[in-house]
Amino acid sequence: MQTVPASIMGHTLRRIVFFLLVLLTTLGAMALMVSVFQTDGLSPMELILLVLYAILFSWICVSFWTAFMGFFVILTGRDRWAISRQSGSAPDPAAPPPRAAILMPIYNEDSERVFAGLHAIHQSLADTGQLEGFDFFVLSDTRDPEVWVEEELRWQDMVRALDGKGRIFYRNRPENTSRKSGNLEDFCTRWGGHYRYMIVLDADSIMKGETLVEMVRIMERQPRVALLQTPPVPINRESLFARILQFAGSLYGRMFTAGLNYWQLGESNYWGHNAIIRIQPFLDHCGLPRLPGREPFGGDILSHDFVEAALLRRAGWEVWLAYDLEGSYEEIPPTLIDYAKRDRRWCQGNLQHLRLALASGWNGLSRLHFSMGVMSYLASPLWLLFLIATGVDAYFQTQQETVYFFGENWAPVWPVSFAVEMTTVLLVTLTMLFLPKGLALALLLKDSRLRRAYGGMVKATLSVVLETVFSVLTAPVLMLFQTKFVLAILMRRAVGWPPQQRGDHQTGFREAALTHGVQTLIGIVVGVLSYQYVPAFFWWFIPVLLGLALAIPVSMLSSSIALGRQARALGLFLTPEETAPPKVLGYLEDHLAESEPVLPVLRETPASRFVQALTDPYVNALHRSLLPPREPPGRRRRHYLEGLVHQLEEDGPESLSPAQKRDLIADPDLLLRLHALFWSRPPANAGMLP
């Protein structure tokens, strides 16, 4: 008789325990709700409330039990199935040493920050003495011509500074087909064959050299693993909003990721960056099709990461979350508004998963990952519906006149009160929401080093309390934002926002009023109405109403860098990365603060890099050398380009759109011609002639 491997037994047992706990807790809460509703039969409104509550409560339950499992794992320090602790097999000594490509896909990002980050990672990797096993690729999908030229110069500067020729590469795609997934596919199909692994970063990712080396080591030991995700810790922002999020991400995040690994094990998910991927299975199984139909559910797969993880799982490969690997960082949006903008970008991709979750052939947990992706955005409109339904139900309750004497009863029949049950439901829900914060705090009691890193127990506790207040205030705002995004996507309407700003900056009154004005109005109107017609409901509703009514000042104040710094000086919202920054973050800071570029052309900041690509002989030659070979333009295209040249001659570069500028500098012959044109007829203010 075949014996079942211990790992399969252990994995199955963990999942049974986890899902049983989720199921039983949900059923318990539902039973309480039903006992309240069922006395006089279920009204349609109560049925709606019950269904909504079941969905939302099970969603909270998954999160709560994940956190609880994480708490348990970290508290006991025992996790025999953590991928980093599994012995695995010894790598084949005859096999060539593994080579890994570190990929940074970028799209119109701040080039200085991108290359400073890569420089820091390079330096940290050099500290390990293992640099020769890694190559760097900047995979640019940038469309903005100004940023494009800047990127080329920064790349060349980095190559010169680090003697990185043949190790640090750059390319800009002529067309950004299929966005980020197409960008990575382009790398895989052209250069992937040179490498066994790729480590995918985001534009604001930072990773320690030791972590990168360890990731490769784990992959070498575990040949069944196709993808290893590290948990990126948020860092480096100074605004109050970002520091609160950094604190929460750092303190609670480690518990949640440990918990995720507890039940997901080798069927984990891919978060799109700070992960290592075995290239061959990725090539074999992760080519993404276009989904049939129109957007938002059809077209390119936007949140490609979840789908790629599911495809790898479908092909029998393992996908792990290395929750205990430290040294993986990312930067987060600095303000509430930027955070919402990022949500807007992610929302459509996640809603697409609604369709994918039901596709055939997926592994069970992959379906759950898809559903969790959907729920992370759908939960908001559902909460809103739940609140509205509760309000409406409460209103109708107040309209009912209580009758004390009826039928054959000689004594008054008092209405049955369900205050105890309802309070229990509310308390259970609040406990599920907030207890994980307490558990994360309790874990600090176990580790004095970590306790100090978070500023000591008192400061950490105060930070948790303040973070909780802040999250209560911002939750209704985010709920309305996400509801708006979901509705806009379903109605195929653009929300119309400028691109997200990644660097620290503050929200002014105008921006805050324009963004949060309607939310504030909703908060005030609903507050007045509920106070007028359902006063009992009003008091329960206060946290939501307050969050909405104060959206403008909260958004403005939380974007303040001064308040963020002041909180830091007071020892609030401290993270280990702030109290004792790892070397790699120090390298990043140094490069951003005081690095002198090797290329003289980078030491000056011209008004336009686009114009510089036309006028400066070096920038022009470098840009031309990086353009991919292309067919000579057809007649129509030639006429179009000639028109642009005339427009440039007459009206100057300001009259051209970024796309038109890009067209002009994307053609090598035209670029050379324009260079000569600028030197023969230099614009009056270009300073080209003495």
């Binding site: 790349w155 052209r190 992760c286 080519g287 000569a676 030197w679």
Partner: protein, 164 residues
């Protein structure tokens, strides 16, 4: 005031020199050579003369104005030298990369190398070879076939029945 006149903003670029004098051409070429990094006036003069000769030897073509033609000729002179010294094909991306390396400051003595006899500019050539940008490794093609994802369709069981 003449109300019949409409004032138009001046064009961004200066008007082309239709029939520039040789002094005007030399002045423009001089400025261009200096922008390329040639500071010795004798070298500037010699290179400018070479560029002018080159233009005179090539048949006139419609398109660039006379000044643009001498500027292009100056660039061609550099490319000729680079192609010879580094054994690169003409009109290639490699040649543009070599020109970028030359102008990047990797070999500060390059203007003298242009006048050096063959074989006497090895230091500059080696410095250039080391400085030529390599944006990507050689392509090693792999295929990434699009995977099949069978989306849920309410009508698919009916279709299956119909097929049977």
């Amino acid at each position: 005031m003449d109300r019949g006149k409409v004032s138009a903003p001046a064009p961004y670029m200066t008007a082309p020199l239709v029939a520039p004098s040789s002094e005007q051409l030399l002045a423009r070429l001089g400025a261009y050579w200096r922008a390329l990094g040639v500071s010795d006036p004798d070298q500037v003069a010699a290179l400018s003369q070479q560029a002018l000769r080159r233009v005179a030897e090539t048949p006139e073509s419609p398109g660039p104005d006379p000044v643009a033609r001498v500027i292009l000729a100056a660039g061609d002179l550099l490319d000729d030298w680079l192609a010879r010294a580094l054994e690169l094909p003409r009109s290639s991306r490699e040649l543009a990369a070599a020109r970028a390396a030359l102008l990047s400051g990797a070999a500060p003595d390059w203007p003298a190398a242009l006048f050096a006899p063959p074989g006497q500019a090895d230091a500059v050539v080696n410095a250039l070879r080391a400085a030529i940008a390599e944006p990507a490794p050689p392509v090693k093609p792999g295929s990434m076939p699009a995977q099949r994802i069978d989306l849920f369709d309410l009508l698919s069981p009916l279709r299956r029945l119909q097929r049977r």
